[in-house]
C-alpha cells in the first residue's frame, strides 16, 4: 500500500519504525542529490544525508503539517548543509569542494551528463562539460547555490522555495536570476557547442 507523506509522518509519530524506513527510502536519493549538489563531496554527502534523516527522526514531532513534508525536509537539508559548510570553513586544512574533487576510490568526483550518445569523444566532452558546470555551480555563494540546486534538481516552484528559505517570492526570483547570470558568464565560452 502506498501511503502519503503525511500518513507516514503520522504513523512515525505513533512509533512505527517501518513507516520511518519508508519515508527514508522515499527521499534518500533526492536528499542525497541535493546535499551532493551543495557540498560537492560524496563521502560528506553520505554523512550529511544521514544527518538529515537523524534530525528528521529527532524532530519529526515538531512537524505540525502546516506545510508539505518535503518543504520541511528540504529546509532541514539546506540547514544541515549550510551549517556543515560553516563548520568546515572554521576547520583549516579540510577544504573540499566540487572544484577540488577528492581522489578517494569511493569518490571519483565525477558527475556525468546523461546522454544517449556513447562515442568516446562525446563521453569525454560530456565529462569536461560536467566538470565545468560543477566548477561553476560550486563558485556560487552558499545561499545562491542551495536555491539554484533546489530549483534545478527538485524543480520546486518559487512559492515552495520561498517557504523552504522563509523569504519572499521576490527574493527567490532575484537569487535565481543572479545564480543563472553568474553561471552563464562562467560557462559562456563552452556554450557554443551546446545546442
Amino acid at each position: 500500500m502506498q501511503y502519503s507523506d503525511e500518513e507516514l509522518v503520522e504513523r512515525c509519530g505513533a512509533g512505527d519504525e517501518e513507516s520511518f524506513r519508508m519515508l527514508v527510502e522515499r527521499y534518500q536519493d533526492r536528499v542525497y542529490h541535493i546535499v551532493y549538489g551543495i557540498v560537492g563531496h560524496k563521502g560528506e554527502a553520505e554523512d550529511l544525508s544521514q544527518e538529515v534523516f537523524l534530525r528528521v527522526y529527532r524532530f519529526l514531532h515538531c512537524f505540525k503539517g502546516k506545510s508539505r513534508f518535503y518543504t520541511w525536509l528540504y529546509r532541514l537539508t539546506v540547514n544541515v548543509c549550510l551549517s556543515a559548510k560553516r563548520k568546515r570553513k572554521n576547520e583549516p586544512g579540510k577544504i573540499l569542494s566540487l572544484a577540488n574533487p577528492s581522489k578517494h576510490d569511493d569518490d571519483p568526483g565525477e558527475m556525468e551528463l546523461a546522454d544517449e550518445s556513447l562515442s568516446p569523444l562525446k563521453v569525454l566532452q560530456n565529462r569536461e562539460m560536467a566538470e565545468t558546470i560543477k566548477f561553476a555551480i560550486n563558485s556560487l555563494s552558499e545561499v545562491l547555490k542551495s536555491t539554484f540546486v533546489l530549483r534545478e534538481f527538485e524543480e520546486l516552484t518559487y512559492e515552495e522555495l520561498a517557504r523552504v528559505f522563509r523569504c519572499s517570492r521576490g527574493t527567490i526570483k532575484s537569487r535565481l536570476s543572479r545564480a543563472r547570470e553568474q553561471l552563464r558568464r562562467k560557462i559562456e565560452p563552452y556554450l557554443n557547442g551546446v545546442v
Binding site: Y32, H33, A45, Q50, E152
Partner: protein
C-alpha cells in the same frame, strides 16, 4: 524599459514563473532585441546542461547504515538513563535512601501544615450587622450568639 531590467526577468520567464501579460511583454521584447534573445538562449542552454546531469545516488544500504547510527543514538540515550540510575545508587546507599525518604515525608508534612495555616477566616460583615441590629433592638448583648455566625470559614 532598459535591457538590464528585461534581462533580470529572463530567469523567471525560463521557469514559467511570470504572469501571462508579463510573458507576452517579454516575448515581444525578445523578438525585437537580439542581445536579450541571445542571452536568453544561453540561459536555456545552461538550464538544459544542469538538467542533464545524472542524479547522484547514495551507496546501496543507506537505510541500514542510518539504522545503525540511529541505534547508536538510542543506545547513548539508554546509557545516559542507566548512568543516571547508577549515579543515584552510588550517591545514595541504602541508609541514605531511607534518610532521603524520611526527609521527603517531613518536608511534605511541613508544607501541608503551612498551607493549612494559611487559610484565612473572614468576618461576614452582613451577618454581623444583622446580629448587631437585632441585639440593639433586643437591647441586650448577644455576643455569645453572634460569634459563631459572623466568623465564617472560607
Amino acid at each position: 524599459m532598459s535591457c538590464k531590467k528585461w534581462k533580470k526577468k529572463l530567469s523567471s520567464y525560463l521557469d514559467n514563473e511570470v504572469s501571462y501579460r508579463e510573458r507576452l511583454k517579454i516575448e515581444k521584447h525578445l523578438k525585437s532585441c537580439p542581445a536579450c534573445f541571445n542571452e536568453f538562449k544561453q540561459l536555456e542552454r545552461v538550464h538544459r546542461l544542469v538538467q542533464s546531469i545524472q542524479p547522484e545516488k547514495p551507496r546501496p544500504g543507506f537505510y541500514e547504515r542510518l539504522s545503525e547510527r540511529l541505534s547508536q543514538e538510542k543506545l547513548t540515550l539508554r546509557e545516559k538513563l542507566v548512568g543516571w540510575r547508577y549515579s543515584w545508587q552510588l550517591s545514595f546507599p541504602r541508609v541514605g535512601k531511607i534518610a532521603v525518604a524520611i526527609s521527603a515525608v517531613m518536608l511534605l508534612s511541613v508544607s501541608f501544615y503551612i498551607w493549612r495555616s494559611s487559610i484565612s477566616y473572614e468576618v461576614n460583615i452582613k451577618v454581623f450587622e444583622e446580629e448587631y441590629l437585632r441585639s440593639q433592638q433586643m437591647n441586650s448583648f448577644v455576643g455569645e450568639l453572634a460569634l459563631p455566625v459572623f466568623f465564617e470559614i472560607k
